[in-house]
Amino acid sequence: MTKYILYVEGRSFFHSLDPRAKIAFVVCVFVWSSVFNHPLYTGTVLAAVLAMVLASGVASRLKMFWFGLVSLAVMSLVLWPLFRRGGETVLIQLAGVTFTQESVMYALAVAFRLVAMVLSGLLLLTTSRIEDLELALTKLGMPYSMAFGVSAVFRFIPAMVGDGLTILAAQRARGVNLVKGNVFSRMRNSAAVIVPLFITTMRRFGELPLAIESRGFVPTAKRSYLLDLRFRARDAAFTATVLFLAAFSVYLRLNGYGVVFPHVI
């Protein structure tokens, strides 16, 4: 079940950063990839994130996300040329629809952007303990009850996956087939897994508030923390660097760099 906790123990540079510095990095990845819409620029951002993923030694834990990430990119590549019209360099005309080089480049840029954003989030989750992240979010001003909620979700994923697998087995044992039949019977059959999972989860976690309050939790009250975070000089330097780069990227965009279509994001 450990594979459902994303965190991978490690001693890489990114691992050793304070979670707040890592959050700054993720925010900056969002800024960098959003201000440009030229594939060369967003591609550079993606390359930087990928390099960080590889250097942190967490690539193997992200195996289960590859398919999703590739689908995300492919979807963007297919859809954007249809919707982002304009540009002069006509590449091809298909069934009366014109595809321009600009719209394809834009699609590529957005594909890189989306993948970079998701990947940076995953990088944060695979290199930080949830509890450290929770504390970091609190220290950054998020109300504790919200940060606690975030970490609780991660705690319950393994339990839910376990329930889901058992439900799947239980339903297969009584003849529910999830891969056979037409769309409607498949939908009906997937309800055989989703409904019990929902009900099991509801029943199970209906008592959760009782358990939490029994332990003295008061949503709005102050509390102390066993863990401690230290924002060291290195974290400060890293954060300053990425923030500077974010500002610089905005400056570049304002001066017309890194764009295929200047008037859209």
Partner: protein, 559 residues
């Protein structure tokens, strides 16, 4: 004596329910006392626990709450639950909901953190609490990766770190395997002996455990206190307990029926042994007729691993005859469920062969196997998804392509058999757990399987509900169905199963007729399995292993 908890004339009606869950209940827990609350399902045991811990009326919605509860003299109403748990804290049945942090250490630290204690003090309490429950050394582990028993002990530690004087255990061991149950009760013994806690309130269907721990017992029936008094006195009310579908301690049943008394009816084994009269005659118990020669299930050197390297089944050879009713026992993680799922075809063995009624089914798909084998899971909520009970029972039949007329006939037949005909138009979601369990069982039996696997079917059911379910299964078995029951309840094994197979670490370590298996107390104890007290009593006083109180009565004559 200092009163730790006092409940005065409490009435509770949950929002939207027809009747009161508690109807004028008064109860007390003094300092230094162990009090057990017993009663059938729906009697209000959990509600009373929640009133004591201040969860009611402070959390949740109620149509009516009257009366008052005091913890160390202070009225609980409109106090914060967390404030009350500093003196009186409640451990719930489902350990999963009580653990919501990621690691063991942070779980225990959560309470002290909320109390805004200094970091050093938090650390001290975490260390102290983990030591008390025997989890030292696991501080950095993820809590979800622990065993059930460890999880429940962690839940206890995380309440202990608030340093309560009263602990309430509401069926806290029901979901655990025998080892987990023993671990939790070992911890309770230690907490009481070392006076870490001053009082303990227990809810447990296993009245042997209650007899061992409790000073006083409160019997709840239909929201009212039906009896209250010295533990021996209440647990000795054999007839009353039986009529409520409870299971009195077995020695009490035997002593009651044979009119063996000391001052009162003995409820503990030691006590019974002291006063038991000389046995005049013992008749040898005859076994149920052996099943026929035909094999229903045959496993040959079966190996299985979920990840390809850690073997969960290590060369299992296993044969089940047609018409057998056998028990598969062993701790969680020993491979019982994996073995059952290999038989069902949900899992495919990595090595070895599976034969079902003689045909090689090793590579067969589960949907094919489902025609012969039915699998009933522990939690009915794992399979119920239809809007009416009728639809639920019809689902598997329709998936098999039967005609509507045939579907209707089978649904009504199985509903009749399981006693749920009146529920056919109900939404299963709103039924009680025992009823939902019957619906789940019926939906499998509707398919007419020749082999039925029950995977811990009685977890969370009262003894009365357990018997009702197992009697139905026994009737099926008498009609020729082969039954494999995975269970942690040894009295269920003793009463219903003629053969017992024990697994440990992916291997079968014992496979014998139940009487022979339960005679081997030493081997069972090595694996943390404890046969019913009747076995021990009969061995000591009559020199044979008898399995149930009834069997004892029928075969032992005293002078």
């Amino acid at each position: 004596m200092v009163k730790a908890v006092e409940v005065r004339d409490v009435w509770v009606k949950y929002r939207g329910s027809n009747d009161y869950a508690l109807k004028g209940v008064s109860a007390e827990v003094s300092e230094g006392e162990v009090v057990a609350i017993i009663g059938p399902t729906g009697a209000g045991k959990t509600t009373l626990c929640k009133v004591m811990a201040g969860l009611i009326p402070n959390m949740g919605v109620y149509d009516d709450f009257r009366g008052e509860a005091r913890v160390y003299g202070e009225v609980t109403t409109s106090k914060r639950v967390g404030e009350i748990s500093k003196s009186c804290a409640m451990v719930m049945q489902d350990y999963e909901v009580q653990l919501f942090r990621t690691t063991v250490e942070l779980e225990v630290a959560f309470g002290p953190e909320n109390l805004q204690l200094e970091r050093e003090e938090i650390r001290r309490r975490v260390k102290w609490a983990l030591d008390l429950v025997g989890l030292t050394g696991l501080e950095k582990r993820y809590s979800f990766a622990l065993s059930g028993g460890q999880k429940q002990r962690l839940a206890i530690a995380s309440l202990l770190s608030l340093q309560p004087s009263v602990l309430i255990l509401d069926e806290a061991t029901s979901d655990l395997d025998p080892r987990g149950k023993r671990e939790v009760y070992d911890v309770m013994r230690r907490l009481l002996d070392e006076e870490v806690i001053k009082s303990l309130v227990l809810v447990d269907h296993r009245l042997e455990k209650v007899a061992e721990f409790a000073d006083r017992v409160i019997l709840l029936v239909d929201g009212k206190v039906a009896a209250e008094g010295d533990a021996k006195e209440v647990l000795g009310m054999v007839e009353e307990l039986r009529s409520l579908g409870l299971k009195p301690p077995e020695v009490a049943e035997i002593c009651w029926d044979m009119r063996v008394r000391s001052n009162s009816v003995p409820v503990l084994l030691d006590e019974a042994l002291r006063v038991f009269p000389r046995v005049k005659r013992v008749r040898t118990p005859e076994e149920r007729p052996a099943p026929g020669d035909g094999l229903a299930v045959e496993l040959e050197d079966v190996w299985f691993a979920y990840d390809g390297q850690n073997w969960v089944l290590k060369g299992v050879d296993f044969r089940v005859h047609q018409g057998e009713m056998l028990a598969l026992i062993g701790q969680n993680g020993s491979g019982k469920t994996t073995l059952a799922q290999v038989i069902m075809g949900i899992l495919r063995p990595k090595r070895g062969r599976v034969r079902i009624f003689g045909r090689d089914a090793t590579a067969e798909d589960v949907s094919e196997r489902a025609k012969d084998v039915g699998y009933i899971f522990q939690n009915p909520d794992y399979q119920i998804f239809s809007q009416t009970v009728y639809e639920e029972l019809a689902y598997g039949l329709r998936a098999r392509g039967l005609s509507e007329a045939e579907v209707d006939r089978r649904v009504r037949e199985v509903a009749e058999m399981m006693g749920i005909t009146r529920l056919l138009n109900e939404d299963p979601f709103f039924l009680q757990k025992g009823e939902r369990q019957r619906v789940a069982v019926a939906s499998i039996l509707a398919l007419n399987p020749r082999v039925v696997i029950l995977d811990e079917p009685t977890t969370g059911l009262s003894p009365g509900e357990t018997r009702a379910l197992m009697n139905t299964v026994l009737n099926l078995n008498r009609a020729g169905t082969t039954v494999i029951t995975i269970t942690h309840e040894m009295w269920v094994v003793a009463e219903y199963c003629t053969r017992t197979v024990m697994m440990a670490d992916g291997r079968i370590v014992l496979d014998a007729p139940t009487r022979v298996a339960f005679s081997n107390a030493e081997l069972l104890a090595q694996h943390d399995i404890f046969p019913p007290e009747t076995c021990e009593l009969s061995r000591r006083v009559a020199g044979v292993t008898l399995l149930t109180p009834r069997e004892f009565l029928e075969h032992v004559e005293v002078g």
